[in-house]
C-alpha cells in the first residue's frame, strides 16, 4: 500500500514538474512534422525569431516521426483546444490533417500550409481555404541542380545520368526530380537520364541504387538526388567505386552534413533550402494577414546552390540563412 502511494506521488510529481504553458490572446499554433531532422529544427528557429520580432505568442508541436500521420492529426485536434488564431501546419501527407484543418477553418482560425505539403485540388474538394502556402519552389530547386551540373561539365557534355527520387508518390521529391529532368533536357540534351528510381529518402537505399547503376553504366557522369541524405549515400558509393572524379553528385536541402561533405570536396553541390527563412516569413505573413494586409496565396522562398566555391568565398548574402 505504501508503495502504491509512493508510486502515485512520484507520477504526480513528475507531471507537476512540467511547466504550465500559459495561453495568451492571439496565440499562433505551429505544427511541424518531426524535430528529429535539422531541417525542421532550423525552421523552428526561424519561427521563434519571426515571432519575437513580430511580437506574437506561439506554441509549437511535432510528432515522433515524419510518418506518424494519425498521431499528427490527433495533435492537431488537441492544439485547436487552445483556440489559436492561426494554425501554421506542415502536414505529413496531403490528406492526414484535413479533418483538423476543416475544424480550424470552421472556428475562424487562419490555416497556413508550411512547406507546401497540401494538394490544392484536394483542398478545393474539401472546401478548405488556406490563407497562404509558403515554402521552397521544389521544381525550381531541381532546375537549379541541372543548371549547376551544366555549368560544371558544359552544355555539350554527353553521358548517362542517374536521378534518385524521394519516397515514391511524394510530391516534393517528384517536383525536384521533374524540375531537374526538364531543365537538363533543355540545357544539355546530350546528358541522358538512364534511370530515375525512388530512394525513399533513405541514405542506404540511395547507396545501393548508385552501386547497381554504376555496375550497369560504368561511365555515369552525374547523380541528382532529391535530398541530401540520399546524395550523401550516393557519394559514398561513388567513392567506393573509385569514381569520385568522374561522377558529379548533387543533392537538395543544404543540411549540415551536406555542407561538411561539400567542404571536404566529396559532395559537389546541394541546392539549399532556407528553412530558417521559411519559418520566419511564415510568421511574418500570418501577422500581416491577421492585421488585414493582403498576403499572396503562394509565398516562394528562394533556394541557393551551395558549392565548395560559394561556401569558401562566403560572400553570398543568403548564406546567413543556411543553418
Amino acid at each position: 500500500m505504501k508503495l502504491r502511494k509512493l508510486a502515485f506521488a512520484l507520477a504526480a510529481a513528475s507531471l507537476a514538474a512540467i511547466p504550465v504553458a500559459h495561453a495568451e490572446e492571439g496565440e499562433y499554433g505551429v505544427l511541424m512534422k518531426t524535430l528529429s531532422n535539422p531541417f525542421w529544427g532550423a525552421m523552428g528557429m526561424g519561427v521563434e525569431d519571426g515571432a519575437k520580432e513580430a511580437g506574437v505568442e506561439y506554441f509549437s508541436q511535432a510528432v515522433e516521426s515524419d510518418q506518424a500521420a494519425e498521431p499528427q492529426l490527433n495533435v492537431c485536434n488537441t492544439m485547436l483546444e487552445r483556440k489559436p488564431v492561426a494554425m501554421i501546419t506542415a502536414a505529413i501527407n496531403s490528406t492526414n490533417l484535413l479533418p483538423c484543418l476543416k475544424k480550424a477553418q470552421d472556428a475562424g482560425i487562419k490555416v497556413v500550409d508550411l512547406d507546401g505539403n497540401l494538394d490544392p485540388a484536394i483542398l478545393d474538394k474539401e472546401g478548405i481555404k488556406i490563407t497562404f502556402r509558403i515554402g521552397s519552389d521544389n521544381v525550381a530547386a531541381g532546375a537549379q541542380g541541372a543548371e549547376y551540373l551544366v555549368s560544371k561539365i558544359g552544355a555539350d557534355a554527353e553521358g548517362p545520368v542517374l536521378v534518385i527520387e524521394g519516397l515514391s508518390g511524394n510530391i516534393t521529391g517528384e517536383k525536384r526530380a521533374r524540375g531537374f529532368a526538364d531543365k537538363l533536357k533543355e540545357l544539355a540534351p546530350g546528358l541522358e537520364i538512364v534511370a530515375s528510381l525512388p530512394g525513399d529518402w533513405d541514405r542506404g537505399k540511395a547507396a545501393t541504387i548508385t552501386n547497381d547503376i554504376l555496375t550497369r553504366n560504368p561511365d555515369l557522369v552525374a547523380i541528382f538526388a532529391a535530398n541530401d541524405g540520399m546524395a550523401l549515400g550516393a557519394v559514398e558509393s561513388v567513392y567506393a567505386a573509385g569514381k569520385g572524379d568522374q561522377v558529379t553528385v548533387i543533392g537538395v536541402d543544404g543540411n549540415s552534413d551536406a555542407v561538411k561533405s561539400i567542404k571536404e570536396g566529396r559532395l559537389n553541390a546541394s541546392v539549399a533550402q532556407l528553412p530558417y527563412l521559411v519559418g520566419k516569413q511564415a510568421v511574418e505573413n500570418v501577422k500581416k494577414a491577421i492585421d488585414g494586409e493582403s498576403v499572396p496565396t503562394d509565398v516562394a522562398v528562394p533556394t541557393l546552390v551551395l558549392t565548395k566555391e560559394v561556401l569558401e568565398a562566403g560572400t553570398e548574402p543568403m548564406l546567413e540563412f543556411v543553418k
Binding site: L3, N74, N93, T95, P99, S168, P198
Partner: protein, 329 residues
C-alpha cells in the same frame, strides 16, 4: 495497513471489481490521477470537446488494443496489427475509389482484408509450427509492402459520402469512430469475460497442455483468435481511412507496439492467461489522456515518448506487486 489479515474496503472493492468487471482498480486509479493532474495543469483539459478528442484519438489504437488483448491473453502475439490496419485502409479505399464500388463493399473490404491477413497468420502459426512472433513479424512486412504496392506509394483520396460518415459523422455530437470503438469494446468485453469462447481463450493462455487435456480444440481456437485480431485491425483501418478521407499506406506505423502497451498497462499478462477488455480500454485511455494532456501543455513529442514508457513500467510494476501480494496471502 493490514489489508491481508482483515479484508479492508480497498481489498473488498478490488475483489468486487475483479469479479464483476474483470478490471483491477489500480489502473483505474492511475487513470483518474492522471486526468486530475492534467485538469490542474491545463485549463483546456476539462471540456466535453476535449474528452471527445481523447476518445477520437484513442479509437484506432483502442480497437487494435482489443485485438492485442484477445491474442495475448491466449498466449499468442500479433505484431502485424499496425501494418494490417494500413493495408486494410488501402484495400478499402482502392475498392471504393478506384473501382467505384458502393460504400458497404468498401467497409467489407477493409474488414475482410484484415481478417484474411489474420487467418493466414493463424494458419501458419498452428499448422506450420512457426512461432507467432516470427509469423506476425513476417506479416508486418508483407502487409505494409502490399499496401504500398496497391496504392503505388501514395494516398488514395476521395471516398464516397457514406464511408466518410463513418469517420467524420457526428450524430448527437459524438464522432462515429468513438461510437464504433465503444460498441466494439463492449461486445469484445462480453465475449472475453462471459462466454465459453472467452474462457477457452484465457485457459489456452494459462496452459496450452491443460486446455488441450480439457478438450479445447486448441488449434481451431488460435486460428479464430488470429482471424478476429486481423478483422479488428481491418476495422481500425476502416475508421482511420474514413477519418482522413483516404487510404494511407503508411497508416498504423508502429501501432502494434502501442496497442500491446495499452493491453499490458490494462493488466493483460504478456504470457497469457489473464486479460480483460475493459482493463485494456483503461490502459488505452491512460495513454490517450497522457498524450492529450502533454499536447495541451505543448510538451515536445520526445518527452511524451519517455512519459509513456515510464507509465508502462510503472503500471506493470504496480500490477505485479499486487498480484504477488495476493498470491502470497
Amino acid at each position: 495497513m493490514a489489508t491481508t489479515a482483515t479484508p479492508g474496503i480497498w481489498s473488498r472493492a478490488q475483489r468486487a471489481s475483479i469479479d464483476r468487471l474483470h478490471i483491477r482498480l489500480e489502473s483505474f486509479i492511475v487513470l483518474l490521477v492522471l486526468a486530475a493532474a492534467m485538469a490542474v495543469l491545463s485549463p483546456f483539459f476539462l471540456s466535453v470537446s476535449n474528452f471527445l478528442n481523447i476518445l477520437l484519438a484513442t479509437s484506432t489504437i483502442g480497437v487494435l488494443a482489443i485485438a492485442a488483448t484477445f491474442v495475448i491473453s491466449s498466449g499468442g502475439l500479433d505484431l502485424s496489427l499496425g501494418s494490417v490496419m494500413g493495408l486494410s485502409g488501402v484495400v478499402g479505399a482502392y475498392i471504393a475509389v478506384n473501382l467505384g464500388a458502393p460504400s458497404p463493399f468498401g467497409v467489407g473490404a477493409c474488414i475482410l482484408a484484415g481478417a484474411i491477413a489474420g487467418y493466414i497468420n493463424g494458419q501458419i502459426v498452428t499448422r506450420a509450427f512457426v512461432p507467432a512472433f516470427i509469423v506476425t513479424l513476417g506479416m508486418l512486412g508483407i502487409a505494409r509492402g502490399l499496401a504500398l504496392v496497391i496504392s503505388g506509394g501514395r494516398v488514395i483520396y476521395g471516398l464516397p459520402e457514406y464511408l466518410l460518415f463513418l469517420g467524420q459523422g457526428r450524430p448527437f455530437g459524438i464522432p462515429v469512430p468513438v461510437i464504433i470503438f465503444v460498441i466494439t469494446a463492449l461486445v469484445a468485453h462480453f465475449v472475453l469475460a462471459y462466454t465459453r469462447f472467452g474462457r477457452h481463450t484465457l485457459a489456452l493462455g494459462d496452459s496450452e497442455g491443460a486446455a488441450r487435456a480439457a478438450g479445447i480444440r486448441v488449434e481451431r481456437q488460435r486460428r479464430i483468435l488470429y482471424t478476429i485480431s486481423g478483422g479488428l485491425a481491418g476495422l481500425a483501418g476502416m475508421i482511420f481511412m474514413a477519418r482522413i478521407n483516404s487510404g494511407d499506406p503508411t497508416a498504423g506505423l508502429n501501432y502494434e507496439l502501442t496497442a500491446i502497451t495499452a493491453a499490458i498497462i490494462g493488466g493483460t499478462n504478456l504470457f497469457g492467461g489473464r486479460g480483460s477488455i475493459l482493463g485494456t480500454m483503461i490502459g488505452a485511455l491512460i495513454m490517450g489522456v497522457l498524450q492529450n494532456g502533454l499536447n495541451l501543455l505543448a510538451v515536445q513529442s520526445y518527452y511524451q515518448q519517455m512519459a509513456i514508457g515510464a507509465v508502462l513500467i510503472l503500471a506493470v510494476f504496480i500490477d505485479q506487486y499486487q498480484v504477488r501480494k495476493e498470491t502470497r496471502a
